[in-house]
Symmetry: C2
Subunit: 411 residues, 2 copies
């Protein structure tokens, strides 16, 4: 029997307890050890639960109990999760977590401590909820040179965009519905401003390319400025708008990483990922494109990923899993403006035909879009493929238009 | 340095050699050991290759060389692959294979031998080509009770059906095109009759539910009888026809497994898996539906999965991977006719309205389908949900119609 502890009894933590208890026999068969919850750390009290005797408010009780071999950190946030995790790893306990903020900000440091102390630090649940993606990247794709990871990493924004695309709901109405259904927080900034997706692409990029990518190195745009007009123009060129996180390996060994809403062609498998679902596409030299799809959040999916990590840790108490990456140099992530891209531009102009002529003479090969009920002072176009810095500079140089919306095209 | 051997230098075998040589450094870093190809077994000669000195025609040279720790079996077929694999495992060497026929027919036996000899028998490449799916099922989903696996498991038939659906190509023309493009063999029976998909669902079901499912236990239908009329009727109820393999766990611990063409609603993520792509959906109690998507065949995708297994074997020379299942009892797989399903029926009748009335009085709640240019003596309908045995008996009882096509509906 192996003793484990759960830190945090919120949505995910209570799910972890539920899965460990409900599937106890099945899990013991998989882990080849019975797994016993010895402590649950939470400042609140839960007197009515069948396992209420396991609660403690004292972290040191877990830290100092040598019989506890694996701890699930499902509190969220950096403080005190970081200090707790670090202390546990230093004390020779494996830690598994669903905390993307922790891994994105402190992953390299915690992985090094885990390595130095011959314990495991696992975090499958931090990306894609229950979708197995980090292990497949590190293990099954070991034979590949991965050159790009791109995904729909946030279920809340994907739900909102799906409602805008399929039901012509406005952004505000779709957000209100997401809040009503419990998909969005009362303060939805972390989702709709792209920060949640940013943390996840940091973790995916760090693992795929082997060096830590920090959130502040990733250009991040949210979806708050997307309008139904943009949705219609996307539809006119057989595309949908999705919030994506992406990271690309450059020939010089640096990477470019960004989070932004982008036009995705309906030919691309990512375009049909709707509602709260997530999907991660991994592109490797031998394997081509592989996609992992499922529920990216929710109590039980996320809990099932945490429990899988607990099982894996129990099976590897004396050995290290090779899910890891190194610290990076400050210039490791190149400026996203150096990337070659195509942009979608929606613009207003007093004199549409003059502005369209200016666009043609500046950009050359542009593709104008049209939609039903197009505003008389509005037009939209797709630029040619070029350096984003150049494209933006060229766009600014055209004084006859006002750019109302500029979005990326996923190539 | 670890010595490995490759048995077979066909499409996959030459891909394995290519990936091991091309990505040598990257692979050494992942495996924490340099991996050296010591032998390639093939009866043919390849004098112009840079590694032509590695070829041997003598299996015993590999078997008796104690320095060879891992062997990739990529010959295909049962003979002599089975005898070779068995001898190698008994001699204490790990074997990795892409050979679905071998695993589907002999998996439980070979896994037991591997276990008894403390070596690994891995076969990620046998299902879904390069798509990581077996490891995620066994590891990442360890916390789940899986209750169903369903997938588009054969790229050739999916290509043919995609051409029929999207370009209204006839079955014969689409098959001819697939052959011309190298997606289908000159003798396409294994693909179009469903045998290839059958082997793959056997492997998926064996792993997901823990007991061996043999190909002869799986009801298998191919796609040779699908017509453009069926494609149109499917479209009329917002569905597409795909060849699926599925396995479901029943409440009594038995399973039902089958391969057949089925209507898939466009709401289902599997419906947008087109061309030669494969996708496998795994349904678990905690995780919900998870889908793995990618190229299910091809030299480099398959080779990359074989190489990932080689790397994994090299990293676990002294320990067992837990990808395994047990022998099953003869009655483990229940009769597919006992499953509850809905069926699509396309029928001809001399007196259509009389036949439709008979259908209504026998089945009760049926849903009639219509399409453009419907043949005057033809009609189609969806039955209610019921035992397949009952549905088929009821259908036979209606003497006023001739059933031209009966297909399953994926619920």
């Amino acid at each position: 029997m192996v003793n484990v502890a759960i830190m945090g009894h919120g949505v995910v933590g209570s799910g972890v307890a539920e899965v460990l208890i409900k599937n106890r026999e099945h899990i013991a068969a998989k882990a080849k050890e019975e797994i016993n919850i010895k402590y649950i750390l939470d400042l609140r009290e839960f007197p009515d639960l069948s396992y209420s005797d396991k609660f403690t408010k004292d972290f040191n009780e877990i830290l100092n109990d040598e019989s506890v071999k694996v701890v699930a950190e499902v509190m969220g946030g950096i403080n005190p999760a970081f200090d707790f995790t670090k202390s546990l790893l230093l004390a020779g306990k494996s830690v598994v977590t669903s905390n993307k903020e922790l891994v994105a900000s402190k992953g390299a440091e915690l992985l090094k401590i885990a390595n130095d102390n011959n314990v495991n630090f696992l975090f499958e649940a931090s990306v894609g909820g229950g979708i197995p993606v980090l292990r497949p990247i590190s293990q099954c794709l070991a034979a590949n040179d991965i050159f790009e990871v791109v995904g729909i990493l946030n279920g809340t924004t994907n739900f909102i965009l799906t409602k805008m695309i399929k039901e012509k709901m406005s952004f505000d109405d779709a957000l209100a519905l997401a809040q009503k259904l419990g998909y969005a927080e009362r303060n939805p900034a972390a989702d709709i401003e792209g920060h949640d997706a940013c943390r996840k692409i940091c973790i995916l990029a760090s693992l795929s390319f082997g060096k830590h990518v920090y959130p502040n190195q990733v250009h991040t745009e949210g979806i708050t400025n997307i309008t139904l007009a943009d949705v219609d123009y996307a539809n006119s060129c057989d595309s949908v708008i999705k919030l994506i996180g992406r990271a690309k390996l450059l020939d010089d060994g640096h990477i470019i990483s960004a989070v932004y809403p982008a036009f995705i062609s309906r030919d691309n498998q990512l375009s049909s990922v709707d509602d709260v679902f997530n999907a991660i596409m991994v592109r490797g030299d031998a394997i081509g494109d592989v996609l992992f799809y499922g529920r990216g959040a929710g109590k039980l999916p996320t809990a099932s990923a945490v429990v899988a990590d607990i099982i894996d840790s129990v099976k590897h108490l004396d050995s290290r899993k090779y899910l890891s990456w190194d610290e990076s140099s400050p210039d490791y992530v190149s400026d996203y403006l150096d990337d070659n891209v195509r942009l979608y531009v929606r613009a207003t102009a007093d004199n549409i035909s003059a502005a369209m002529n200016d666009v043609k003479s500046v950009f050359g090969d542009v593709h104008f879009l049209t939609k039903a009920n197009q505003d008389i002072n509005e037009f939209a176009f797709l630029t040619p493929f070029s350096s984003e810095r150049t494209l933006r500079k060229d766009l600014e140089s055209i004084s006859s238009l006002n750019a109302a919306s500029v979005l990326h095209i996923l190539d």
